[in-house]
Amino acid sequence: MPLLTVENVVSGYGEMQVLRGVNLTVGHNEIVSIVGPNGAGKSTVMKLVFGLLKPWEGAVTFDGRNISGMAPEKLVKLGLSYVPQVENVFPNLTVEENLDMGGYTLSGSLDQQKERVYELFPRLAERRRQRAGKMSGGERQMVAMGRALMLDPKLLMLDEPSAGLAPLLVDMIFEKVVEVNKAGVAVLMVEQNAKKSLALADRGYVLATGQNQVDGPGEKLLGDPEVARLYLGG
């Protein structure tokens, strides 16, 4: 049974319908990438899974449990973590405090979890007393991912982790995603950078006009000329 299942979900903001029937699954230990043109509803899918938006129809299941519309603070305890696309750090808190907030729901010492994050991102270990708001875009992305990893999630959700980063940093962030995944965390990400993200994904979904149009193994989607022409801008 897959870890996360999104079934026939319809939803939107206020009166405006954005998702018109989305279906997707993420298996244990999988990297799944959602790609598609702007305004397709990619970020909306993420917000919906994370309880920031309620489904009008359809259901979301996580680890065998119906989580449709469940509040974020409960989802966190079930093993779901989410890194929003923008404003994904606490700018006036230090790196270390940002990580502390990631582990807010745990009681007791967080040292072990923090050490693991510092191992993954040695750069953060050097700057643990620095305020997150004063860091570069790449470093902020590391803080954001680090915060989300504090609770040992079963599924890490990343909303456009490479947005606004220099190409070198994009590669670094993607490497980290693979590294996290190797440690046993399933990853669901939304990406503008379709080629790179599909290349490392086990499976991919192409989302357009609020529905998933095509899906399949990442490599295969990349090689599909139809997909490339229609949705990936050549």
Partner: protein
Amino acid sequence: MTENSSPALRPGERVRNLLTSRAFIYVLLGLVLLGFVIAAQAKGVSANSLLSLFVRGTLLGGTLALGAVGVTLVFAVLKMANFAHGDTMTFGAYMGLLVIMVLPKGPPLAPFSFGYEFLLALLIVVPLIGLFTFGLDQAIFRPLRARRAQPIMFAMAALGLAFGLRSLVYIFWGADFTYYYVGRARPAVELFAGVRVRPDQLFILGLAVVLIVGVYLLLERTKIGKAMRATADNPDLARVSGIDTNRVILWTWLIGGGLAAAGGMLYALDVQLRPEMGWWLLLPLFASVILGTLGNAYGALAGAFVIGIVWQMSSAFINPTYGHGVAFLVMVLVLLFRPEGLFGRSK
């Protein structure tokens, strides 16, 4: 921020950048103080009494800070200007009076003018008012948050609350001013160089400092304190991180309301109890908070001392009742040149 270093600035923009810089505000405040000293000299006020006023301003700054930190914390976490904060201080001060009247009266704890009852009253009233303000929040502001009301509706509800609290004070205690210890002598002692203060005032400053250090430690060291700062920084991300927002709100009111009660009681001990005292303090409180950047606890602290000192020193040469006017003037200067305050990021 990078605009400052850009070489292609026109002279007009350069002047504008200069006028809106933090340094300029410091210069401005310095000039205001210098102007005071000159005006006082012209009026023949001795350097000694100016120094006294400075010291008294610092003492006043301590009590103002207790109120201002509460205003700024509530603003930071809940994004609302709490115009009921001054009247919360009044209410706390009068609750203290109630406790003191109920308790059997002990002798003054020399050299102070108050007895054990005042200290006990502080211990009882501070947490009580903290809880009380949280209760009011749940009854009044929470429904507004749930409805996503405009910020200004919160301010209006706070205004209604302010008048409601004050009417309770009027109903239960009457409109006249009073003291915690009516008729008890409060002699001043010489501190240094002819500066005379009452021992009570040193106690007030000392307690204010202790409370503020306590809040500092809470915000910096404890989990809930960090969660409060995180919520202030980015409420959405705080929720996504699993922070229990209502718990953060509870603590915000416990601290904000509790400090308001402490500030009210200390101010009343120093000056007098009066139903309007909190309303009159609202202006200096907000002046302090705006000067130190809305939402910044350390800024509010600094702002409170600046406002306290400016307020007291102005009385060297103008009618002391215009202290509010001076606080207002400082606020308007800040709003004119640097509305984001001393500790805000310039835009």
